[in-house]
């Protein structure tokens, strides 16, 4: 496997800021992998996304050190080059990204600018409408979309350019639970049907850790933890220390049961069903022991 993203010793400070927004951040994402980025507000998640998209330091001015290499190009470092066209970033604020007057116009904007033939654009529109569940709203004025529909459109528009690397900054913040599950499915489909590399910033760790290959937890601009999502999410102490994120219920339940000396639970990570079955069995045996 080759690395799609390599970040080494990344340090960043915005003009006039007292503290650095990113401090010595290092990680890599292999081609076709999915990385989940989490951390409290102000941890540096969106700043990191901007670096990966190649927006720093030209579009977003900041003082930087270290290196960021994306799709084989060094977009941040001693001699940076412009980012590749097939890296797409979906912004946290979907409205800031929607420019078309209608859903269809917005979807067509990206590929039209890349000179994709009209026939091909129509085919892609049809495909992404199904992928994000906006079929039937092609002609809808974008201002008349709900918050969640706008978020889906922003993801769909990014997919229109068939990116090799897709960076999503909190893409489900305004979606209902079914919408969140759909985004998870979109991402899972992308990974099985294409070799798209995905980086996703999310507060709903429980939902996305199950499909991620690696997870990066940021805190005050530095890497608090980096590694296998299943073992990271079981580390409740880590979540309590970093704060800002709700640990998955299975992990929290196991930890609290253990602390209350009720059930000596192992770590269940994300599997609430298994945690509950074990706890029920243990509690039952407590009852029979004392009987």
């Amino acid at each position: 496997m080759t690395a799609a993203i390599e970040v080494a010793g990344l340090w960043l400070a915005y003009p006039g800021a007292d503290t650095a927004a990113l401090r010595d951040v290092a990680f890599s994402v292999q081609r076709g992998e999915l990385m989940l980025i989490a951390g409290p507000s102000g941890a540096g998640k969106s700043t990191l996304c901007s670096c990966l998209r190649g927006l720093v330091p030209n579009t977003i001015v900041a003082e930087t050190r270290g290196q960021v290499k994306v799709a084989g190009r060094q977009v941040l470092g001693p001699e940076p080059v412009p980012s590749s066209d097939d890296v797409a970033l979906v912004l946290q604020d979907a409205e800031a990204q929607i420019i078309g007057m209608s859903v269809e116009d917005d979807l067509a904007f990206g590929p039209e600018n890349y000179g994709v033939p009209a026939e091909e654009i129509r085919a892609r529109i049809s495909e992404v409408l199904d992928l994000v569940g906006l079929r039937g709203l092609e002609k809808r004025d974008t201002y008349a979309l709900s918050g969640g529909q706008k978020q889906r459109l922003a993801i769909a528009s990014a997919l229109m350019i068939r990116p090799a690397i897709l960076i999503l900054d909190e893409p489900t913040s305004e979606l209902d639970p079914v919408g969140k599950a759909q985004v998870l499915e979109i991402i899972s489909n992308l990974r099985t049907e294409t070799s798209t590399t995905v980086v996703i910033v999310e507060h709903e760790i429980g939902r996305f850790a199950s499909v991620a290959d690696t997870m990066l937890l940021l805190d005050h601009g530095a890497v608090a933890a980096y590694g296998n999502p299943a073992s990271l999410v079981s580390d409740i102490e880590l979540f309590e220390r970093v704060g800002g994120e709700r640990p998955p219920p299975a992990a929290e339940l196991a930890r609290r049961m253990r602390d209350a000396r009720l059930v000596e639970c192992p770590s269940y990570g994300l599997d609430l069903g298994r945690a509950l079955a074990d706890i029920e069995r243990e509690l039952e045996s407590h009852g029979s022991c004392s009987r």
Partner: protein, 288 residues
């Protein structure tokens, strides 16, 4: 800001056969909606994206006018009330704080509403300082709102509505884009406000917060209300939850599974474990 007495008998809002379409569109966003909001309630307005939650809520203070039907505030149609009267009764906090914030300082932003309601001098100043204190932003009074993080802008948006001291507060997805501590901070502010006797309507998808804070759930799908009742009951109605694109919160699943071991409350996992612990201890003591 004198606390009002909570009473569930008086309707603050009555929605009667409300139908609404955006001008020039054929498909109605709201279809024959009926709803009574009683004083002192803490209501979660739930439903999938595009169900009509925001559109309904924007009728409460006259931001939208019914295509047909009526919205009554204390028995008077919103269409007959002036802006000032509407704003005194219903405060509406936008989903995106940036749609609401326009001043160059936090203090001026909070001042704008009460000043327009006619407050001046000492009364105005104390309203502003109280509202900033409630959301914990006193130290940011002189800051420019646009250099603040999203969480603080969201709190500022809430503060500038609180400063108008409305009887009913509608908050549209207050926790969007916030992390857990930010979301809980906002909800604690709203919870305190509710405890003082105000009426709250909150639009949210965060079911953990719904179960922790709200007393009643109104569930919408496709422009209609499909379920309405106490939070603890509605969250267990699998069919309407599914129709509204919602999921039962994990804490409810856990509490129900462990009910035979003494789990009675289901607001947080900590509560469930405490209940089970107390139950097991009592059982143990009984057997000794």
């Amino acid at each position: 800001m004198a606390p009002a007495v909570a009473s569930f008998t008086e309707n603050v809002i009555s929605v009667r056969d409300l139908t609404f379409s955006y001008p020039g569109t054929a498909v109605p966003i709201l279809r024959k909606v009926n709803l009574e909001v009683r004083r002192g309630e803490f209501i979660a307005l739930l439903g999938s994206n595009g169900a009509g939650k925001t559109t309904l809520a924007k009728h409460f203070n006259g931001l939208h006018c019914p295509t047909s039907g009526q919205v009554l505030l204390h028995g008077r149609p919103t269409t007959e009330l002036g802006l000032r009267e509407l704003a005194k009764i219903v405060g509406y906090c936008y989903q995106n704080p940036d749609h609401q914030i326009f001043s160059s300082s936090v203090e001026n932003e909070v001042k704008f509403g009460p000043r327009n309601l006619g407050l001046t001098g000492e009364a105005l100043a104390s309203r502003v300082s109280e509202a900033l204190a409630v959301v914990g932003m006193t130290e940011f009074a002189a800051s420019n709102p646009f250099v603040l993080g999203r969480g603080r802008r969201q709190l500022l948006a809430v503060a500038s509505i609180l400063a108008m001291d409305p009887e009913l507060l509608v908050v549209d997805e207050p926790t969007t884009g916030l992390d857990l501590s930010g979301a809980q901070q906002i909800m604690r502010v709203l919870g305190r406000w509710h405890e003082e006797g105000r009426t709250m309507v909150v639009i949210t998808h965060d079911m953990d917060l719904v179960v922790e804070y709200t007393t009643r759930c109104v569930v919408m799908a496709d422009g209609q209300i499909i379920d309405d009742g106490p939070t603890q009951e509605v969250l267990r109605h699998n069919d309407t939850m599914r129709a509204a694109g919602l999921e039962e919160p994990a804490v409810v699943t856990i509490s129900d599974r462990l009910s035979r071991f003494g789990s009675a409350r289901c607001k947080s996992i900590a509560d469930v474990v405490a209940d089970v612990g107390a139950h097991m201890e009592a059982e143990h003591a009984g057997r000794l």
